[in-house]
């Protein structure tokens, strides 16, 4: 089982590599909203979902693709932890 801060840094790395083209200087803090910071657009959320499903083996349901689960590194980490514990859908 990956620890929480490991998970955060894995997600952080994915965000920087995928949406910021490796630009570390623009890396979001864990509580930064991806939408507010303009890091992720509509296509970006789909890429995140695909990443969770294929690379992390987490099945993502339609109703879970909402800002309270997906809009920051912190929220994503919480969501993934809940999923791994067999948790509820909504955030």
């Amino acid at each position: 089982m990956i620890l929480e801060d490991q998970l955060e840094s894995i997600l952080q790395k994915f965000i920087v590599e995928t949406f910021l083209y490796g630009d570390q200087s623009a890396a979001p803090r864990k509580e930064d909203s991806f939408m507010e910071k303009g890091i992720i657009d509509s296509m970006g959320v789909l890429e995140l979902v695909t990443y969770l499903e294929t690379k992390m083996g987490i099945p993502v349901y339609d109703e879970e693709i909402i800002p309270s689960n997906f809009d920051s590194v912190e929220k994503l980490t919480r969501y993934i932890k809940r999923k791994r514990n067999g948790g509820a859908h909504a955030g």
């Binding site: 590599e17 083209y21 630009d23 509509s42 296509m43 789909l46 339609d62 800002p67 997906f70």
Partner: protein
């Protein structure tokens, strides 16, 4: 009719009615009317005049809507700039039309404050959002949104008297040109009112409509959702983005939306969702889609998800807003068609000498109507190429640059573009604009940008580059460089490295050959 009258007339008919729902707040027609009156007064009190251009650089928000009408009420011309515009391009837009005003917000203030000092024409900068004004710089007044709407400003107390007439410009809408420099499409009040009336006629828009739009206001399709909803006296539910389709579908239900404008990329996103039942949207009367044809699989999924909604597939270009629509009942009969001319518009196909051709023959599409633009702002040559003599003496009609054929019933079929503009996610991308950014990298010896087919995006942007001998550069470094200057949708999805580019005898790069291979992802 002038465009600000869309709001004023609805506000006098039903001042209490909800005009706008945005970010959880509801705004009545009376409130939007009053706020835009105050903004107009404030712009005027600070020295802006009839005909002055004001850039609106905002996310979808009440401030953006108020700004549109405030600028118009002052007799000004608004220019909506996409919130994803980078500083260099914003400076270009401000300088190209010599904007006198810029309205921005806290989130975008970094880009705005980098661009603004490079535009000597600017006299006023307004910052919405968290209330901090721009750092003032020489010759420019800086105001907060609250300051701009201050009801104690003497000139803001009463609505201004009218100064503009309907052949004056209402908006300048920038569009990608094949030269690589965006061109400002000049739309008069008459152009916009004509297009809006025509579209509302076939969509049968009424005051009891509730339209939900997540399209950016900088995209004419998104802009017209505001204008048409206000003209009808309907309610507009304005969302910021389609990033969370689930949330958008929930909002459709909550607000009992009757109209839902989308682009094919959004249809593809909605169609990926598996868990929605078809009985959730009994209020939805229509879905519109433009920018590219809907895939047959998406049409059938949309129909099963939204059984009460008519689906309108449409085609247009910024230069005249809209050209054609496919009546919903024709979707199965002529699935490959983009429809027939919208009401009060004539379309025909011409050969290379300008003579009309018969049914089934391919030629350039020509559009005739009062919605055809006034021209490109201060671009005489390009205007002459687009606006050519029509059937009446002195009349100008729009040569679209798109190759089409028409069947014997007047239905249009898109064949190809005459230039190499790429259409991705419903947006136009000029290969030259992307190439110019690539050439800023000293490591790049040659670059060619092409569109390749993509299931979700329509076309995806692909860059083929040749590096200078002895240099190294990764695809990610190239994308990162592009992200500094270009809007998100223009950043190449694919980067391919080659030893050289295929050329003809005259040294012209053979782009068709490059577009065949999708290449590998830039990421």
């Amino acid at each position: 009719m002038q465009v600000e009258e869309f709001l004023q007339s609805s506000a006098s008919r039903f001042p209490q009615k909800t005009a706008l729902v945005c970010q959880g707040d509801r705004w009545s027609y009376g409130e939007v009317d009053r706020l835009s009156d105050r903004l107009a007064g404030s712009l005027k009190a600070r020295g802006l005049h009839r005909g002055d251009r004001v850039a609106i650089f905002l996310d979808n928000s009440v401030e953006a809507v108020v700004s549109i009408f405030g600028v118009l009420k002052m007799g000004g011309v608004f220019l909506p700039a996409s919130p994803s515009t980078k500083a260099d391009k914003l400076a270009y837009l401000l300088n190209d039309c010599r904007a006198a005003g810029l309205i921005s917000d806290a989130r975008l203030s970094g880009v705005a404050s980098e661009a603004a000092p490079r535009a000597p024409s600017l006299r006023l900068v307004i910052s919405a959002g968290d209330g901090r004004p721009e750092r003032p710089f020489e010759g420019v007044q800086a105001l907060t949104w609250e300051g701009a709407l201050d009801k104690d400003t003497p000139s803001a107390a009463a609505p201004l008297s009218k100064s503009a007439i309907d052949i004056d410009l209402a908006a300048i809408l920038y569009t990608s040109g094949s030269t690589g420099f965006p061109k400002g499409v000049m739309m008069t009040h008459l152009n916009i009112a004509t297009a809006a009336a025509s579209i509302m006629q076939y969509l049968e828009n009424k005051e009891d409509d509730v339209v939900l739009s997540a399209l950016p206001l900088s995209f004419d399709y998104g802009l017209y959702q505001v204008l048409m909803a206000f003209k009808a006296g309907a309610t507009l539910v304005l969302e910021r983005s389609f990033a969370y389709p689930q949330t958008i579908l929930e909002r459709l239900i909550e607000e009992k939306a009757t109209g839902f404008p989308i682009v094919p990329t959004v249809a593809a996103m909605i169609c990926r969702m598996k868990e929605w039942r078809s009985d959730r949207f009994p209020h939805l009367r229509y879905i519109t889609s433009t920018a590219a044809p809907l895939a047959p699989a998406h049409i059938s999924r949309l129909r099963s998800l939204f059984p009460t909604a008519k689906i309108y597939s449409m085609y247009g270009l910024t230069e005249c807003k809209r050209v054609s629509y496919l009546p919903p009942e024709e979707l199965d009969v002529r699935p490959a068609s983009v429809g027939r001319a919208i009401p009060n518009t004539e379309v025909y196909i011409v050969d290379e000498w300008g003579a009309r051709v018969g049914p089934g023959e391919v030629g350039e599409l020509v559009v005739r109507g009062a919605h055809v633009m006034k021209g490109y702002w201060e671009r005489e040559e390009e205007t002459e190429r687009a606006l050519k003599p029509g059937p009446l003496p002195g009349e100008k009609v729009l040569y679209t640059g798109d190759l089409f054929r028409m069947d014997s019933d007047g239905y249009l079929y898109f064949v190809a573009r005459k230039d190499d503009i790429i259409k991705t996610r419903g947006e136009k991308v000029s290969p030259k604009e992307v190439e110019a950014v690539l050439y800023r990298l000293p490591e790049i010896a040659e670059a060619a940008v092409v569109g390749v087919q993509d299931e979700v995006l329509g076309q995806a942007v692909k860059a083929v580059v040749v590096l200078t001998e002895g240099t190294r550069l990764t695809a990610q470094e190239i994308s990162r460089h592009c992200a500094r200057y270009l809007e998100e949708f223009m950043i190449p999805k694919y980067v391919e490295f080659r030893e050289g580019l295929p050329k003809n005898a005259n040294g012209k790069i053979l782009k068709a050959a490059l577009a065949l291979r999708p290449g590998r992802s830039a990421e």
